[in-house]
């Protein structure tokens, strides 16, 4: 698409009126976005010396600095390398009403990594798919993503690099690599062009900005920004999703296809499984020592391990997690209890709070309740409309796929007990002073919706048991059996993963 871009020249005087009207408008628009709680991401990519920095400065000059954050994207640092590659972008997500402005983005990130040989073609392609997923997920959640590519020609770039180099105040901004890259402009051109056309989606179409002339560039950037924020605010006011007009025909993205494994309904679970004390103690010893060794190997090979616990109230999650945790070197895991989201979490994409809780590679992250609240408690308790919750099956599969791609072993447990057993445990909690804090009216209320929950859980297990992140239903009426099954499942999954390495 880049070859279709025509470099234009705009006289300052011709642009003056439109620019000053758009600048005035921008202040109101930013206020409107603030009131509408619209989260906005503006990415600036483009050639070295294309003027990203100064165009960003021109854009924000008319905005309230409390509403935006400008972040330069450089090479990932050491801690960032120990997380999924998109983790750092997730962390930066703006809240509703805020602007995130990126100088460089996931695009310059992957193009540079690929051109430098840091990632191979396969990885580059996987990352393109990750980006499309990321942008679609954000768009579906009401984010406005304005992607700008500042395009200059090879001759213009050479001229600018030379000028920067010849001025002693700006010399530090260019290095030898910039001149080398200018010589291989054609090759980089093709890579940018492919990247842009593969990501010119309906969720986040590209704005290619002819930037040989600075006034033209400013004009086009301001037009793109003001019109799309206005459009998104209007759409939001009408309760409709916003479709940004596309400069070029948009690219249809084939959704990632996931292979689902066969599952059975909770009602078919054999709830009579149990272990004797003797069997339990022997097995506990065996699997705990095995798990400890496996953790060591995962640590050395930097394999991340994600263990997700869901289950009925009083299902025994706490005690189960304890048996797993006590097998592990405590410096290598963290348990994340998931309670109701905080205001800063509610103001962002619902997966944000799980992304930000991920531990480093080589470590275990154990979730006590998870992102699956989205498809269980949230629609049942009318916190999230059913239609919105239904979109989460796909989003969750994508999320877990990206964890898997990062190298993680994703292990998911549903701890199942039957209704009678739950009643027995609730009563026991009520009658044991030291356990009374564990039982609330809410637990009893949830119990009344047992059938509704069971239906939701069956559906969830069916739709999110991918081959890379299958559910394990744990028969939990006997806590001893349940603990051993969890430990054994984790050991088996890790062994399987370590074999592949």
């Amino acid at each position: 698409m880049l070859e279709l871009i025509e470099q234009k020249k705009t006289k300052k005087t011709d642009a003056a009126e439109e620019l000053s009207s758009m600048r005035a408008q921008l202040i109101d628009i930013a206020n409107a976005a603030k009131s509408a709680k619209l989260p906005v991401i503006i990415t600036f990519d483009g050639w070295a010396a294309a003027g990203k920095g100064s165009q960003i400065a021109k854009l924000i000059k008319y905005m309230d600095p409390r509403f935006y954050n400008v972040e330069p994207i450089r090479k990932p640092n050491e801690p960032e390398k120990r997380k999924p590659w998109m983790h750092r972008y997730w962390l930066k997500l703006p809240a509703g009403g805020e602007f995130l402005i990126l100088d460089g983005s996931w695009y310059s990130d992957i193009v540079k990594s690929y051109m430098n040989g840091d990632i191979d073609k396969e990885e580059y392609k996987r990352r393109i798919a990750d980006i499309n997923v990321f942008e679609r997920q954000l768009h579906d959640d009401g984010y406005l993503i304005i992607k700008l590519f500042l395009h200059i020609t090879q001759g213009e770039q050479r001229k600018r690099l030379k000028a920067l180099y010849e001025d002693k105040f700006t010399r530090w901004r260019v290095d030898e690599q910039d001149f080398i890259n200018n010589k291989r402009y054609d090759k980089i051109f093709r890579r940018y062009d492919k990247t842009i056309s593969r990501t010119n989606t309906a969720s986040a179409p590209w704005n290619i900005i002819p930037a040989n002339d600075r006034v033209t560039a400013e004009l086009e950037i301001m037009r793109a920004v003001t019109s799309s924020i206005t459009g998104a605010c209007d759409a939001k006011a009408k309760g409709k999703p916003y479709k940004m007009p596309a400069q070029f025909p948009i690219t249809d993205i084939e959704p990632l296809k996931f292979d689902l494994v066969r599952t059975v309904k909770l009602a078919k679970t054999d709830m009579n499984k149990e272990l004797t004390d003797e069997e339990y103690r022997t097995a506990l010893d065996k699997y705990q020592s095995r798990l400890f060794e496996l953790q060591n190997l995962c640590y050395q090979r930097k394999i991340p391990v994600i263990v997700a616990y869901e289950g009925w109230d009083a299902g025994g999650k706490g005690g189960n997690i304890k048996r797993v945790a006590s097998a592990l070197d405590p410096r290598g895991y963290e348990v994340k209890p998931i309670a109701a989201p905080e205001p800063s979490e509610l103001a962002r994409h619902y997966l944000w709070r799980f992304w930000k809780r991920l531990e480093n590679d080589g470590h275990f992250t154990i979730f006590d309740r998870t992102w699956y609240g989205r498809v269980m408690v949230e629609p049942i308790e009318k916190i999230t409309p059913q239609a919105r919750a239904d979109m989460a099956y796909r989003e969750i599969n994508e999320f877990e796929y990206q964890l898997n791609e990062w190298g993680a072993v994703v292990i998911k447990f549903w701890i199942n007990i039957d209704k009678d057993e739950q009643y027995r445990r609730f009563k026991e909690r009520e009658n044991t002073p030291s356990k009374q804090w564990k039982i609330t009216d809410e637990d009893w209320r949830n119990r009344e919706k047992w059938d509704e929950y069971e239906k939701a859980v069956d559906r969830m297990i069916k739709l999110t048991s991918t081959d890379f992140a299958p559910w394990t239903v744990i028969e939990g009426n006997d806590k001893k059996y349940a603990r051993i099954k969890a430990l054994k499942t984790i050991c088996d999954r890790l062994e399987e993963r370590l074999k592949d390495d």
Copy 2:
């Protein structure tokens, strides 16, 4: 003090009963801490091969893994080096009811840094002072800090290091440096000993654990942990501060003394200062370009800049910040609007949310409202008892001192307007549709307490105008004058700082 520690041998059978009773107790104690929302920090320091890791494992074996987090403390990584040295410890603070267990702590951090020659004696001493401030601030806020030092003799250490080295499964855990350090045991002994005696404070006294014998060590650790958590919960139930019994005579800490600069009361401010449009435009140009250059120098020399804005409602903070921000390279600053704290913030020391908002060295962090809410709005609105708020003057001076020590330039503005001017601006906001969102009933309510606020502000300015972080009262009736004064003050402070370098 270390020389007073007697290594004992305890037979497993003799300890069995007490240990198993304490373990059972620990479960209840952890639950009690959870209900009492008591935040607990347990630090494990001591000699290499003293058994920190295995003692931590023994301790947490009986605790619910959802309530604690074990963190190893290693050398700071690159992003951590760009923050104050204690920043990473602040970030890790547990919430009320949580346990933070550290394998190594700020103690091993400074002793190792000093012994390796990474920091000199002056810096080591400053850090001792920082630690005492940190622990006192946390203690005063209701944190329980249990500091354990696992002490083994030189001979025992040599034996253990050899054993670890000779086993191929554990060889990786020891390196040459460990053996070198064993040879210079005496020197390290003296450093640990001095460190311990200088930080054996009433807020956080030391527990020195004789660790040649593992059973003795476990017993002593369990005693220290169970008794102090019980004591702290009991004290909290009675609404009293907890004083941990000290193993050795405690060290009195000389409070940091700060030189205060002379200040004047708000009532004495000359509110007639103003600039013509002409004067304003000329000065704006001048100081904005100067600020841009100074930012560049600060960036190159990695000088952090903290700008704190406080002022009357409708004082013009937003527009003032905008003039500062628009002079800066947007990649080098961030504006942090401070609103009401979130639940996770309320559950921790109130300075936590400001520590975690600090940008890297070389960057500007601009706070729109600040930690001074603690001594203004919080006591006036009865969010914090006056007595508790009064402690904040010292805490805030210490906080700013630590920022200054990090190398930061700390600039604080009170934007002052008079009561008539505020009335005029409130009315104007009410009558201008695009500004109506800026005025709420709360603003009118606060206005009724003008005198109370003025008294609090006078006191705040008087008590926290240190020579390293003085307040600048800005005459704000004329917005133009106010903006130029802020810009000029920032420029002057930066120039002064850059001269020193």
